[in-house]
């Protein structure tokens, strides 16, 4: 054995020691779950029969940051209402969504406006989240076909990377790349793409807490990638599931009631 051959063998051995044990032992990677079961778990966490919550919405752009306080009510997938508590400019503004329709009451002019057409794509109260985003169904298994693209490390914890492609191109985001936390089944990060393939928004969900048997992200951060330097952060508090919400909250009449 020449001196050069010996050196080569030693170097090969050293490199081998530096590699993680797993790569040598080759633990079998976890079997990717069925995408439908992943989405069902996700929907179990994010969907509810009834809910109330206080929401703090921070809307930031390079020029200024605004903070809004909202009280939100939800019933099933189809109905939700919210009332703005602060700041003074927005106080008393109310919204009601039923299915694919949404109305907004504007107290300064004492009028209720149906949000429709091009207005649906505008940022809600100037945020990075459009009215369409709020109205969009979280029943993803009905809207998208998906594949599980392996288990990846996302911000230090294992996540299932799920690529969702819309069954119908007319949906707001025809493609979603979602990183679903293996443990909580919460989509820690979603990348939302337009039909052209351009990344339109990112939607992060963090600060996951267990409430009434559900894992729920108490903080969300949405970034509209078409706007420079903007983000919207939604912090949830006083979250209650399964509460009885007065029937009138889910009506147009409620909007104009002070």
């Amino acid at each position: 054995m020449t001196r050069r051959t010996l050196m080569t063998l030693l170097m090969t051995a050293s490199l081998g020691l530096m590699l993680p044990a797993g790569s040598l032992a080759q633990d079998a990677p976890p079997e990717p779950p069925d995408v439908d079961s992943l989405l069902k778990g996700l929907e179990h966490n994010l969907n509810f029969e009834s809910r109330t919550a206080k929401i703090t919405m921070i809307i930031a752009n390079p020029r200024r940051t605004r903070t809004m306080e909202i009280f939100s009510y939800g019933r099933g997938l189809d109905e939700s209402s919210m009332e703005f508590l602060a700041p003074a400019r927005e106080k008393g503004t109310k919204m009601y969504r039923k299915g694919d329709e949404m109305w907004m009451y504007m107290p300064t002019v004492e009028r209720t406006q149906k949000i429709s057409g091009h207005m649906l794509r505008q940022g809600m109260m100037g945020s990075d989240m459009s009215y369409e985003d709020i109205m969009g169904s979280t029943n993803w298994d009905e809207v998208y076909d998906g594949i599980v693209d392996g288990l990846v490390d996302y911000e230090g914890s294992p996540h299932w990377k799920v690529v969702l492609t819309a069954k119908d191109d007319s949906v707001t985001y025809p493609k979603r790349v979602t990183y679903i936390d293996q443990k909580t089944l919460i989509p820690t990060m979603q990348e939302l793409y337009a039909l052209s393939g351009m990344l339109v928004k990112t939607w992060g969900m963090t600060d996951v807490q267990e409430i009434a048997g559900k894992q729920y992200p108490m903080t969300m951060r949405i970034e509209d990638k078409l706007k420079a330097g903007t983000y919207t952060e939604i912090k949830t508090s006083e979250l209650k599931f399964g509460v009885e919400v007065p029937e009138e909250v889910f009506s147009l009449r409620w909007l104009e009631r002070s």
């Binding site: 020029r63 200024r64 504007m106 406006q113 505008q122």
Partner: protein
């Protein structure tokens, strides 16, 4: 005599045509600069992406900027202005009528835009902060009436839906889309609409007339109060700078065409004159007149005729040009209401018979004489005295 007649007719046609062009395009620029300011101060990022109307690129604290602009020598008025789009509805139903909302201090509307004279219904602003004045076309589309409330739904600088409500106190009819499709509201109301409580999108400064713009702009640029802002004279902005170029180009093309046609006429008459005077030219050449002197003699003669003809041409053209300046020509509102809201085009367009038009007409008359007489003069200079004497009968 024939040459003089050609010059008179040519110069007269030029004077009428140039006064007409200056009247149409110059009037359009003057009216438009009343709307857009002789000089504008705005955020540089707003100017870069103006087509997208980025309302967040605004002047957040506008009062010091207005004060600094008013202090510039030559500035007669400076106003903070907000212009933004909004859906306009007068009844319970929200329609799909869109208009441009202009928010500014009342003197901008009354003294600069002079809108009060176009009032066809209702009254002028009385000082109530909830009063709106609508252009007639916008009012009709939205079914708005004097004395009734109207709702304007626009966007804040952050893009949030934002409504304002006010009472229609007056309706104006100017005959131009730039005013008749707009809603005029007090500045404070527009500030609330776009959520810029103490600001504006731009500050418009005015001098004695639009020709003062460049001087005011340069003075502002030298003033540290405007360091953070983009200062533009009207002529720096599209489409008005292009329009100024178009005026010059159109006058040039028209002038060139008339010079060519009349020059051709002068050439024909002068050639006839040279042929008639061949013998005379021969005698003069035999007596020692050089070729250069011969050329100069004919050109000078043509210029003398052109000078006299030019004066008569200016006088002849001044009549119709003055008539156009006083009476104008009606384009009709079908055109002016559909030409877009950027340009202020009046339904009746007047000529502009200025001294510069008369001077240009006269000088072009001389140019016609030089162009038209050059070839006949050279032809005369080439005549050999012997041949000329032989040709003489």
């Amino acid at each position: 005599m024939l040459t003089a007649s050609m010059v008179v007719m040519g110069v007269a046609a030029l004077v009428v045509a140039m006064s007409w062009i200056e009247g149409i395009l110059g009037g359009m620029i003057t009216s438009s600069t009343d709307t857009i300011g002789h000089v504008r101060v705005a955020d540089p990022d707003f100017v870069k992406r103006e087509q997208l109307m980025p309302m967040y690129e605004n002047i957040a604290d506008v009062a010091p900027v207005v004060e600094a602009a008013a202090a510039i020598p030559g500035v007669t008025a400076a106003y903070p202005v907000i212009q933004t789009g909004a859906a306009v509805s007068a009844g319970d139903e929200f329609g799909d009528t869109f208009g441009l909302v202009v928010g500014a201090p009342e003197p901008y509307f009354s003294e600069t835009l002079k809108l009060e004279k176009y009032l066809v219904e209702g009254t002028w602003f009385t000082g109530d902060p909830n009063e709106f004045i609508l252009g007639e076309r916008l009012a009709k589309k939205a079914d708005a009436e004097v004395g009734k409330d109207v709702l304007l739904i626009g966007q804040t600088q952050d893009g949030a839906m934002s409504p304002i409500k006010g009472k229609v106190v007056g309706i104006i009819h100017s005959g131009t889309a730039a005013f008749d499709q707009r809603a005029f509201v007090p500045l404070a109301k527009a500030q609330y609409l776009v959520d810029i409580p103490d600001g504006a999108i731009e500050v418009l400064a005015f001098g004695a007339d639009r020709h003062a713009a460049a001087g005011i702009r340069d003075a502002m640029k030298a003033d540290p109060a405007f360091t953070d802002y983009e200062v533009q004279a009207w002529s720096d902005r599209e489409p008005w700078n292009a329009l100024a170029g178009i005026i010059i180009a159109m006058q040039g093309i028209l002038g060139g065409f008339v010079v060519f046609i009349v020059g051709l006429g002068i050439w024909v008459t002068m050639m006839a004159s040279v042929l008639e005077r061949t013998g005379e030219i021969g005698v003069l050449r035999a007596m020692g007149l050089s070729r250069v002197q011969t050329v100069l003699m004919f050109v000078f003669e043509a210029m003398l005729i052109a000078a006299v003809g030019g004066v008569f041409g200016v006088l002849l053209g001044a009549g119709p040009a003055y008539w156009l300046e006083v009476n104008g020509i009606t384009f009709g509102e079908d055109l002016t209401q559909n030409i877009g809201t950027d340009m202020v085009v009046r339904p009746v367009v007047y000529g502009d018979m200025s001294p510069s038009v008369a001077i240009k007409g006269f000088l072009l008359g001389l140019a016609m004489a030089i162009v038209g007489s050059a070839i006949p003069a050279i032809r005369a200079a080439l005549i050999q005295p012997v041949e000329a004497m032989r040709a003489r009968r």
